[in-house]
């Protein structure tokens, strides 16, 4: 019964979305207030309906209703509750429903909190958002309906892919979708601005928080996914340049670019048409990501819903929205006048450089990702583009970005002096160079990887600190730090986070130690400065899997640090083995142990790794996301811009009171 209600709500949501996509737009033409306002009602209603439908599906998973096709294929009655819930989006149909739920949520947020938008603009943006809803609700209903029943329900389900039965991955998709789909807001705003033919500081001030939120969630989603790969896949890799990973990374890069260019639009009324283009492309790449993940056109290690036919539909949706928006852009963009004039040496130039580097790196990832497809179709060459290509093609751009960032972030708007800003940043530069030199001297004969990484990390973090300290003014009044706008703190924290992640990746890749061997119970071996002893291997039966667990004592200088428990699991329903690495997380390094197969002579294959600075990769990502939230909490983003006459008066007063 609940399932039928959910199905019905989904169909209703589709109808409501159809109305949301059309009626407000007609309203803006006829100047009819009621019709324009209908967009808000429809957006709320659409959200409530999709939410009801989604909850109905969750309910089916939690109660293990095996008369539903998706539940049978992706769940099992013995599965722990949390994975019954997360199983809802651990499959194509359910994850599309989550996708649309988040889309509707963003639309509803614009309806609920967008009171500082003009009537006409909000109606247009909500109509565009509604149109995206129509496309994807239609896609779900006609090609991937999660509410299909089975004629003969089985006694039990076929279980969720065991690799997905993990806390890190349970919450990875929701965050990723919050990011992907959040960019739809920037897209809708961009298209609405093109339809209205107006882009100004106020527009940028509306777009920024949405983009910032999307970027922040995307950061968390990507970090969770990469962390999961690190501890779950069994060899401690954290990034594989896999098409599916690239699919989430490209929107992230473009969202980061959009974030920065919208600052220029807001503060300086420049870079307008570029910013609009970025907003279109960022969401375009989100759709492209959805297409890549779900079509199976590009083979990938974790594509989980391969179906070429569905892929074609998504490709159609992609072409319709991005093509439409770009056409609109081609017609309207020439009329968008940028006003701000600035010197060659200025924050504007620095942000243009930021955008160049981020956009080019997104493009490089894009070309590398689809190159096998191009080569096969156009040149009849079956080839692969793997990590070695991306490492060579992508890394230099990030190094350039890291070099330029701290300096660019202290250049003043409009006109700056390179010499002056250089002098301000002398201390961090010297510090970072000294650190890199020290590392270089200590590791003679090795690659430049670690010194460059450490330089960038130190340069970005100390640069961000210097930027804050400079805000203290002449009298070095510490209390001023607390009064700084949250956005300034957000900037410093996020930039530091980027530096820490860069440092960690370089240090991990340069200094990682690996050891593979066969050990018998009782045997001791040495990796780096650590002694490891295999104490015991035993079998256990847990919930829905069988486990082989080893006890490995980790010692340093004959002192016991901890007992680690690497595990091998076997899921009988899915007939799939997985590994749970034993990881000893410490500040400066992880010790990472994987238990392998039993050998004929009674030993076990054991892989041990020392991974320096591994935690810092995700600590840096968390800092980036935290910086995003800090910025997002800045009151300036929530109040109406001063320059806008139609803005509510009280908002103007709040700002002038600051």
């Amino acid at each position: 019964m609940i399932t039928e209600l959910g199905h019905f709500a989904l169909l209703l949501a589709f109808t409501v979305a159809l109305m949301q996509a059309t009626i407000p737009l007609i309203g803006t033409r006829l100047n009819h207030n009621g019709m324009m306002n209908f967009g808000r009602t429809a957006a709320s209603a659409q959200f409530v309906l999709v939410a009801a439908s989604f909850l109905a599906l969750v309910n089916a998973f939690v109660t293990s209703d095996f008369s539903l096709r998706v539940v049978t294929l992706n769940s099992h009655s013995l599965k722990p509750l949390i994975y019954k819930v997360s199983g809802t989006w651990g499959n194509h149909e359910g994850s599309m429903l989550l996708w649309v739920l988040i889309l509707a949520l963003f639309g509803a947020c614009a309806a609920w909190f967008g009171s500082n938008l003009t009537h006409r603009f909000r109606a247009t943006a909500l109509a565009v958002q509604g149109a995206i809803g129509v496309a994807f609700l239609g896609f779900i209903i006609f090609t991937s309906n999660p509410f299909l029943r089975l004629v003969v329900p089985p006694f039990d389900g076929q279980d969720l892919n065991p690799l997905l039965q993990d806390p890190g991955l349970a919450f990875h998709p929701p965050f990723l979708y919050l990011g992907y789909v959040g960019l739809s807001m920037a897209f809708s705003f961009a298209v609405a601005a093109l339809i209205q033919g107006r882009v100004d500081a106020a527009w940028a001030r509306w777009v920024r928080p949405w983009t910032l939120a999307a970027w922040t969630f995307l950061t968390i989603g990507i970090a969770l996914g990469s962390w999961w790969a690190y501890y779950e896949l069994g060899w401690g890799g954290f990034w594989f340049w896999d098409p599916v990973e690239n699919a989430s990374f490209m929107p992230w890069l473009l969202a980061a670019a959009l974030l920065h260019s919208s600052v220029v639009v807001e503060k300086r009324e420049s870079l307008k048409s570029w910013t609009i283009l970025l907003a279109i492309m960022a969401f375009g790449f989100s759709l492209l990501g959805t297409f890549i993940v779900r079509s199976g056109v590009l083979t990938s290690v974790h594509a989980f819903a391969n179906d070429p036919e569905r892929g074609v539909v998504i490709l159609g949706i992609l072409f319709f929205f991005v093509g439409g928006a770009l056409t609109l852009f081609a017609v309207r963009a020439p009329h968008l006048q940028s006003q701000g004039v600035f010197n060659v040496i200025s924050r504007e130039t620095a942000l243009v450089l930021n955008n160049i580097l981020l956009a080019v790196s997104a493009f490089v990832v894009f070309v590398g990702t689809i190159w096998p497809l191009i080569a096969e179709i156009l040149f009849d060459r079956t080839l692969s583009v793997g990590p070695p290509f991306f490492n060579i093609a992508f890394t230099p751009l990030m190094i350039l970005l890291g070099f330029a960032l701290p300096l660019g972030s202290v250049l003043p708007w409009k006109r700056g002096q390179l010499g002056k800003s250089m002098r301000q940043m002398k201390l961090p530069l010297v510090f970072a160079l000294a650190l890199a030199g020290l590392v270089w001297a200590m590791q003679t004969g090795r690659s430049l990887q670690a010194p460059i990484g450490l330089f960038l990390g130190a340069w970005l973090v100390s640069g961000a600190v210097t930027d804050l300290v400079m805000r203290l003014g002449q009298e070095r009044d510490i209390t001023r730090l607390l009064r700084l706008p949250r956005a300034d703190w957000g900037k410093a924290v996020a930039h530091s986070g980027l530096g820490i992640t860069m440092l960690a990746i370089a240090a991990l890749l340069a200094w990682e130690k690996e050891d593979i061997r066969v050990v018998k119970v009782g045997e001791t071996w040495t990796v780096g400065n650590y002694q490891l002893t295999l104490k015991d291997v035993r079998s256990e039966r847990v919930a829905n899997y069988q486990a082989t667990v080893a006890d490995v004592a980790l010692m340093q200088n004959k002192k016991l640090i901890t007992i680690m428990q690497p595990e091998k699991r076997f899921y009988p329903v899915a007939k799939m083995p997985t590994t749970e690495a034993g990881i000893d997380y410490r500040f400066l390094r992880d010790v990472y142990i994987v238990l392998g197969d039993a050998q004929e002579n009674g030993g076990w294959t054991v892989r041990s790794y020392i991974k320096p600075f591994a935690n810092w990769i995700w600590a840096g990502s968390i800092l980036m996301a935290f910086g995003g939230f800090l910025s997002l909490s800045d009151r300036r983003l929530r109040t109406a811009p001063t320059g806008r006459k139609s803005g509510p008066r009280h908002a103007v007063r709040t700002i002038s009171a600051e």
Binding site: G234, N306, L383, P387, F389
Partner: protein
């Protein structure tokens, strides 16, 4: 969906273990080279894994093969070439730089150059020479509005 589970099964079933201890060479230099080479070779039956990471049977065979060639005295390039003649260009995770692939390898410098030129043109169009930016002052209309605001 069953099809999908099979795919994932093939992918991950044995992916847990990559290089096995008994495959490795006792000569450390040679072993290091073997690891380097295998990290750049794609496992022919896997979706997107190098033979160093994969533990499909064929990946294990190829790892042993790489080591055999090295022991026989091949250079790294010779080993890679040997694999390409057997399995095709597909096994190269680092695409070769001939033919249309030159474009792929040139993409970073090329795009960067194009973007920098566009950026420079944009900046030139919107920038002023030092000293040219002055306070443009307020227009008469703006002055009137300011007056009005100050009075209110």
């Amino acid at each position: 969906m069953k099809h999908l589970i099979v795919i994932i099964f093939v992918l991950f079933a044995t992916a847990v273990m990559a290089v096995e201890p008994h495959e490795t060479l006792s000569d450390r230099k040679l072993e290091e080279r073997a690891r380097d080479i295998s990290k750049g070779l794609r496992c022919p039956v896997c979706q997107n894994e190098s033979i160093d990471e994969s533990s499909a049977e064929i990946a294990a065979d190829l790892r042993v093969l790489v080591r055999e060639r090295l022991v026989a005295g091949d250079s790294n390039q010779e080993v890679v070439d040997f694999m390409v003649t057997r399995y095709g260009e597909f096994v190269l995770l680092k695409p070769s730089a001939f033919g249309v692939n030159i474009l792929l390898w040139a993409i970073t410098p090329l795009m960067l150059l194009i973007a920098l030129v566009i950026g420079a043109l944009f900046i030139r169009a919107h920038s002023a020479l030092p000293g040219k930016i002055q306070d443009e002052g307020l227009s008469d209309a703006e002055k009137a509005e300011l007056e009005k605001l100050l009075k209110s």
